[in-house]
Structure formats: C-alpha cells, structure tokens
C-alpha cells in the first residue's frame, strides 16, 4: 500500500514519467522511489544536490524515509552503520574528500557484513583538490579504501539514467551479498542533465518484512531467539580467520555472478579503448571521429569496477593491436586492464588530472600518438 501523500511537489513529481534531471537529483528521487529507509549525509560539491533534493522532496512526510544532515561525514557513515545493523536500507553520499573521511565506517560496515549504499561523486584531488570532475578515487573504491581485506561492489554510471538504475541495483546487490555497494560517479554525471525515466514507487519494507529478510539484524528479539550481535570485532584469531574466509568466499561469488560491462564496436576494431563512467561516452564520440580517419577502435566500458570484468576485457583484447585506457586520473584502472590481458599487447594510458575533462579530439590524438604511431 502506498503511503498517504501530503506533499504537493511530490505528487507533481510522481505523476510524470520522463523528466530532465541532474544525476545528483536523480539519485535523490531514485532513493525515495526504491523505498530507502534513511539517507545521512553532509554537503560537499559536486554532490550537494542529493541532500538538497531530498530536503525539497520531504520524503519523511510521504514514505517515511529519514533524511538527515549529520554534523560531519564521519557521523553520517556511522549513522548508516547503525541503520544497516537494524536491517534498514540506508545510504550516504559525498565527494572525494568526504568519502576519505568515511573510510573507517565503510570498513566497519564491510567487516560487520552489512548492506549499505554509498555514492561518491568524484572531484579532483588529492586533498581538498578541486570541485571539478575526476576519476582519481578508482583505487580507493576498488581496492578497499579502508583497512582490512574487504571489497565493495562498485558501480560506475555513465548517464543520469544509470544514476537512477544503480541506486536500486546497488541496494539489491548489497542486501543479496550483505556487502556495502558504492556508486562511483564523477562530477560530470552528477552535474549534467539528461532525460530520465523513474521507476514506480516501491513501499518501504515493513518491520515484519525486514525481520524475514534480515534474520541477522538487530530488530528486537522479543524473547524468541538468541540476540543478534552486529560487530566487526573478533579477538579470537581463529574465528576472525573464518570470518575472513567467509567474506572472501562471498567476494568470489560476487565475481562469478555480478560482473557487468558494455561493449561498443569491439568485434571489428583494431584498437580497444577501455574507459568507465562518463568518460566512456566521450570516448564513444572519439571513436566516431577516429572512424572518419579510417581508425577502427572499439570500446569496452566496465560497469562494475569491482568485480572488474577481466575476462570480458581479455576476450575483447584478443586480436587487437593495442589498448588505450582513458581515465580522469594518472593511471589507475590501467593496472586492472594490464592484469586482465597479462600484458600480452601494448596497453597505454591517457588521462587528464585535477578536474580537466578531455575533449573527444584529444582522445583521438592520444590514440594516434600513443598506439598507432608507436606500434610497428
């Protein structure tokens, strides 16, 4: 049953289907429509519209979703930890420096085997850096930004529509595997406006449904079962090793089942471009421009950055003359690409740093300079 709708703006929003939205706004809508129980965040450019839009939509009056501006990023992620421990669908969002602050909490959530959704709308670093788009948090997101042997399911959206879709997908996967999921977006997808189709409103789960879906959650035991303890602490190392093995087994299962990617014109191509997020779209334009010059390039876009689609990249690279990794960083994903292809062909990197976005022509030039003119 849908909750009673008191908020006029919300009714206005709900009756339309196709809309123009910024990626950040779209995430806010998608969270409410998914039936998310709580959002805890702290403003930072370029993702402040997530919190702003949630505040404007006032979902606490409609679905009952909690929206809270915490006193800091650290507080926000620990509120997520608490909400997740009680089986709620909770999320936070931030941008690079704020995500660094959240790493301790993320490691605890992973160690406690809890579901949660974290959005990082990356900006240029290191440090406070710039507010312009970047992809320099690839290592942090995919290799475990906090301490300990853990992984996040990392989804990389390249359009506003995917910002919407990955909220639902991220929550679903994170509950399925009791592992936190991250949407690793860049400032471009966060700030650009595109057409989106929003999903229908899903009701938030009832307490009864949460008890059934999350028997591990701290939902109140009513004297009926043993108490559930949610912790990442286990001082007995032999038991801690068992927990680690359990996590690793789950990560292997995620690798087997949840690897996602997109291919554009790979089969007939001589060269392969690997790019993620919005940059893959700039590469798609570059690919068209290169074709006019008689250069045949194909693109493989990892959608899950972890698990990385290594078999797909290896397969796509077969018979190619070389690979160009285009990233808004100094060369991070390229390491996964080189591992995937076992360095069996030349793998080059082209990147812009500190918030600069490459134009399609720059990518064509890089392709010619780094691969075509260099390979005999």
């Amino acid at each position: 049953m849908l909750p009673i709708i008191k908020n006029i703006y919300f009714i206005h929003i709900m009756k339309e289907e196709v809309r123009l939205m910024k990626g950040n706004e779209a995430v806010a809508h998608a969270a409410i429509l998914y039936g998310c129980d709580g959002y805890f965040g702290y403003p930072i450019t370029p993702q402040s519209e997530v919190l702003e839009t949630l505040e404007a939509l006032m979902p606490w009056e409609t679905t009952g979703m909690v929206v809270l501006q915490a006193e800091s990023e650290v507080a926000a992620i620990n509120m997520v930890y608490g909400g997740a421990a009680s089986g709620k669908a909770v999320m936070t969002s931030s941008s690079s420096p704020g995500i660094s602050l959240k790493q301790e909490g993320i490691s605890y959530i992973a160690g406690s085997e809890l579901p949660a959704l974290i959005l990082n709308v990356m900006r240029g670093g290191p440090g406070l850096g710039t507010i312009q788009p970047s992809q320099a948090d690839y290592f942090q997101a995919t290799k475990g930004g906090g301490h300990g042997d853990y992984r996040l399911i990392v989804l990389s959206p390249s359009s506003v529509q995917e910002m919407v879709d990955f909220v639902g997908l991220g929550f679903d996967l994170s509950f399925k595997y009791r592992t936190p999921a991250m949407i690793l977006a860049d400032g471009i997808v966060g700030q650009m406006m595109e057409k989106v189709v929003l999903p229908p409103q899903r009701p938030r789960r009832t307490d009864e449904e949460i008890r059934r879906q999350c028997p591990w959650a701290t939902t109140g035991r009513n004297g009926e079962r043993k108490r559930n303890v949610v912790t990442s602490l286990e001082l007995e190392s032999s038991r801690m090793e068992i927990i680690n093995h359990r996590l690793q087994a789950r990560y292997r299962e995620i690798e087997r089942n949840e690897t996602r990617w997109e291919e554009i014109g790979v089969e007939d191509a001589d060269y392969l471009i690997v790019a993620f997020g919005s940059i893959a779209r700039i590469c798609a334009k570059a690919m068209e421009m290169a074709e006019e010059k008689g250069i045949k390039a194909g693109i493989i876009r990892p959608i899950t950055l972890w698990p990385f689609p290594k078999e797909a990249v290896e397969k796509a690279a077969r018979g190619k003359k070389g690979i160009l990794c285009v990233e808004l960083n100094a060369g991070q994903m390229i390491e996964d690409v080189r591992l995937a292809v076992h360095d069996s062909l030349p793998v080059e990197h082209y990147g812009r740093l500190g918030g600069i976005i490459p134009s399609p022509q720059e990518i064509v030039d890089a392709l010619e300079e780094k691969l075509i003119n260099n390979i005999p």
Binding site: K195, S278, R281, K285, G355, I356
Partner: protein, 180 residues
C-alpha cells in the same frame, strides 16, 4: 536531426537557465537531450557556458570540440568559441560590448543586439529569452513554439509561471533580430 550547441557568456546572464529551457523544450519535442554546464577553470573568472545537445538518437559525449551553433554573449566567449563553430555552422553573438569581430567566412554569422531589444520590451531579466528567440529562429531544427512553452513550464517553478507570457514575448522579440 542533431544540434550541438554551446551558449557562453557571463555568470548572471541566464546562460545556464536558457540552456535548461532549450533542453527541456527539446525533451518536450521527444528528442534526446544533454545539458552540460561549464566545467573549465574559466568559470571562476566569471564566465559561464553550457553545452546542449538535441538529437533523434542516443547522445554519446556531452563534451564537444566543435559545435553546430555557438551563442556568444561576451567578447571572451566570442574569442574562445567562434573558431570552434563547425564549417557551415552558425554563430550568434550579442553586439553589445563587442569590439573585436569574429573572422570566419565559412559559417553563418548573426550579430544581434539582444541587450537593446531586451530594454525595448522593458523586462531586463528576460534577456536570455530574447537570445533564445534568436537561437530558435536561426537553428535549422525548428522547435515548435508549443513545445518551447512546455519547456518553459517545466523549467520554471510554478510560482514563476505567471512570467511565462513575458518570456514568450521576449522569445518572439528575439526571433525578429536576425535580419537587423
């Protein structure tokens, strides 16, 4: 159909909102659209620009090297973007404050005095809609006015819907400027 457009000017001229109304109008006409605000370091120097793409097909890059149409509202933007109009493309610029004219003879150039026209209609805040009128008139893709009005309705918060007639008037005024 595909129109790759950049609108560039000073912050406060309504560049981003004009782009938004244009994008929304395209959306109302069943086009694929992207709206990409300026992300260059120049934004801090007081200039703002927005790339709007309207297309029948799925749009790849929201970031471009060259454009079908450039709308330049100050000298800096004119200098920067007039070389980036595609051959055979269109350049529209506001003549007020321009001292160095564009040097291209392979494109169609429309100098428009949008600032003066805005003063004539007596609604200084509708400047961007006067410019939009000129753009709509010059653009090979003819966006039906009814969808532009729908775009306005979608872009403006409801409390500002009373201003739609003024915006419409400004657009109509802008449409008359190309020949002048």
């Amino acid at each position: 159909m595909k129109e790759e457009i950049i609108i560039a000017g000073f912050g406060g001229q309504g560049v981003l909102s004009m782009g938004k109304i244009l994008a929304y109008s395209g959306l109302m006409d069943d086009k694929e659209v992207t709206w990409m605000p300026s992300y260059g370091p120049e934004q801090r120097g007081g200039t703002a620009n927005v790339t709007v793409i309207l297309s029948d097909e799925r749009i790849s890059s929201p970031v471009l090297d060259t454009y079908d149409i450039v709308v330049a509202l100050n000298q800096q933007s004119l200098d920067k973007f007039s070389p980036r109009v595609k051959k055979g493309g269109i350049l529209i610029y506001d003549t007020s404050g321009i001292h160095k004219l564009p040097e291209r003879n392979d494109i169609t150039i429309y100098p428009v005095n949008a600032m003066e026209a805005t003063m004539e209609i007596g609604h200084p805040k509708a400047y961007n809609m006067v410019v939009m009128g000129a753009l709509l008139e010059a653009m090979p893709y003819k966006l039906p006015m009814e969808n532009v009005v729908k775009g306005l309705e979608k872009s403006l918060p409801e409390r500002h819907h009373a201003l739609i007639p003024v915006n419409r008037q400004a657009i109509e005024k802008g449409r008359t400027l190309l020949g002048s």
